[in-house]
């Protein structure tokens, strides 16, 4: 990644060009917001109207910019600025155009718009990058919120990269329609027959690197008052989807406390134990977060005056370190066993799922940091808590990096609060990067 080529655009020139592209970016964001608004926030259902509107909007914008335009069998959109040598592996700049239900306007879309704005800026100052720069509008990244059944998530990028199992076409079911992924692809004019069994639209050998700009989903940049993040990696997770604590239902007025097999107290103790272990590892400098997002006694059987005989819950442990994930899995299994024995209950944990942490490309990260310094953009290196399409590119053997933009109020909520000034800085770094 030669600094020489990038040096052909003076930092000040690039900054002014990107700044000049911001009204276009704002128009795209506004159009998205007004056309995909829901009762609360926005909803861009994968393979639904909102996502399609976003794809059409980006394609129209690309037409105005004179970009090449393609769609793959999964409906992913490719908008290409030809470089000096189209035989050289290209830059792929992407993010997703769907959203969670009642989500925010920036999660996903910001990355596609940043790609278009970067291209607009480069064109405006007459720069022809060394490589083709392709902006990819990815389908169905938020599959986890929309599709139930058996599937591996990140459907659009996995289909493009040949990572989707053919069976997922029929086992991924969109919850709101009850229809399979295959049926939704057909309904959108896509071509499911060309998906699965290793068939891929993207050839890793033809891609120099994948770059994704995304709002930060957590509060780290905001709290540190830094506008842009260079992402070190994407946390992996180990999850229990449906663990239960089985005790015994009993009369809540007549059963002496010491003779109860109370699933609520036992589960509370397990949760507190995990919290204590988190504190220990956090203090030791390890990367770890955990969430018990669901916790529920049985609404058919529970009552105010009955000793609770069963509790269900979920456990999501995330870390950038595979070792920390393994430590936590062992701790949870041991603690559940010890608490169960002491309190006369049984934890049926089921098996932990495991999604390994993703390490983003060290060379690209280093170049991004160098670029930020050259462009005087304040950055922090931070881990990504949420999953992203970038990890699928890494899995496919393509070097990938991510740029985070400071964002208030979290993501997946109507209140997502990215400022255009911060977006501009992220886009400036992105535009600099693709000239190399």
């Amino acid at each position: 990644m030669s600094e020489v080529v990038r040096a052909t655009v003076p930092a000040q020139t690039l900054a002014e060009a990107v700044h000049a592209a911001m009204p276009m970016a704002q128009e795209l964001l506004d159009a998205l917001e007004s056309h995909t608004g829901a009762t609360k926030g926005i909803t861009r259902t994968p393979y639904g109207d909102g996502e399609q509107y976003a794809h059409d909007l980006m394609a129209d914008c690309a037409d105005r910019l004179g970009l090449r335009h393609a769609v793959d069998p999964a409906g992913n959109l490719y908008l290409t600025l030809p470089g000096q040598d189209s035989h050289t592996p290209c830059w792929m700049v992407g993010s997703h155009l769907d959203s969670v239900p009642n989500g925010g306007n920036f999660d996903g879309a910001a990355g596609v718009i940043a790609g278009l704005a970067a291209i607009a800026a480069l064109k405006s100052v007459g720069v022809v990058p060394r490589r083709d720069v392709t902006v990819m509008g990815i389908r169905a990244e938020e599959a986890g919120s929309w599709f139930s059944g058996v599937h591996g998530g990140h459907l659009g990028s996995r289909m493009a990269l040949g990572l989707l199992e053919a069976s997922e076409l029929d086992t991924a079911i969109r919850t709101d329609t009850g229809q399979s992924l295959r049926r939704h692809l057909q309904a959108c004019g896509c071509d499911p027959a060309r998906i699965g069994e290793g068939q891929r639209h993207l050839d890793p050998a033809r891609i120099h690197g994948y770059l994704e700009l995304h709002i930060e989903q957590g509060p780290v940049l905001e709290q540190r008052a830094i506008p842009v993040g260079v992402v070190t990696g994407i946390r992996g997770n180990s999850r229990l989807r449906d663990p239960k604590c089985i005790g015994e239902y009993n009369h809540g007025g007549a059963t002496p406390q010491a003779q109860r097999r109370d699933s609520v107290i036992a589960t509370s103790e397990l949760i507190l134990a995990i919290d204590g272990k988190w504190h220990e590892l956090e203090t030791a400098g390890e990367d770890l977060i955990f969430t018990v997002g669901k916790l529920y006694t049985d609404p058919k059987l529970h009552s105010l005056s009955k000793v609770p005989g069963e509790v269900g819950f979920t456990l999501d442990i995330r870390s950038a370190s595979p070792e920390v994930l393994a430590t936590m899995r062992a701790f949870v299994i041991e603690s559940a066993s010890a608490i169960g024995a002491r309190r006369g209950v049984k934890f049926d944990l089921g098996a932990f799922s495991l999604s390994e942490p993703t390490v983003l490309d060290a060379s690209m990260r280093q170049t991004l940091c160098a670029g930020a310094a050259a462009l005087s953009i304040p950055i922090a290196e931070i881990a990504s808590g949420g999953g992203h399409d970038a990890q699928e590119f890494v899995r496919a053997g393509i070097p990938a990096a991510m740029i985070f933009v400071r964002n208030a109020n979290g993501s997946h909520v109507a209140e997502e609060g990215m400022e255009l000034d911060d977006f501009e800085l992220g886009t400036r770094l992105l535009s600099w990067m693709v000239t190399g």
Copy 2:
């Protein structure tokens, strides 16, 4: 309560007479079980078919025994063996004939059948008790499991005793039908116009004492291998019906642990703190039990990967000591406040309800203990955890006592396990008692 009068029946004679009444008791229990069976256990819905069947069955049995038969405006049943002097305040021997949904066959019904068996035994040996002995079949004791809305529970006995507010006729709503108590009374041919505003069917001045035989709802007698209990009092309770812990929903992958306002972890900590306080008071010899019977994140908003922003739960604290109840209330309020401050959440506890502990009549308890000694029945004095109609009689100013019968597997479950031999001993003590 003269020992002289009771001495007119020799212990051995009484024992044999009660033993001879057991086949009748067993037939009644069998008929109840076969006619009110549900998919699991039995269901005798208050003011529904199952309860009505039980009332009709008891009335038929009373007819065969030649007892007087009356029904009050609330549908409670009164079956009377006239004594030597019907002007002397009577013995009232009662329990309820309804059940919880999918409950057991003995909770409630055993007490009514014991009254009929005791009368059958006395009649069989030609004993005419000094006082009228009235067996009361009470309606809707399990109202807490069937009626939502505003009501004070124990509907049948409270209506008989003039303790029901007139407004409860319309604010108590049977959950399965959506109909008010008033509508159900009307549908059963009862007379709600004669209920409420202090109107009562039973005059405390006309009742010498109320005696209730009931299965023990906890495991104390079984674990101590004692067949019969003389109840010291009924635990009071302080309850939180709908407390909430309010935190903040957030991205479960991106929000650093230390910056979360996690309602699940905070609530777990509160539950564990209450458990610790229980342990402290238990060790100090205090009477205390507590139950968090319901615990639930919001099924509309929770997910595996979202920091839980809200948890609902219930808290039922019970003790025979008003001071312990007050100590626990203060402890919960203080702990919730401290945990909330430390963890960035807010506990909206609402107000504690308070049902004061009921002390059963000391003289009647003493007589029961003396009678058990005279009849060679092993007893233990124990507190009642569950609420009973007896406490309403105490509230109305009528001396009351309770006899517990050993029972396996708890109550309110299909598996209630009272043995007829133990029931016979409890019935023997009851029959002895009503001769005085």
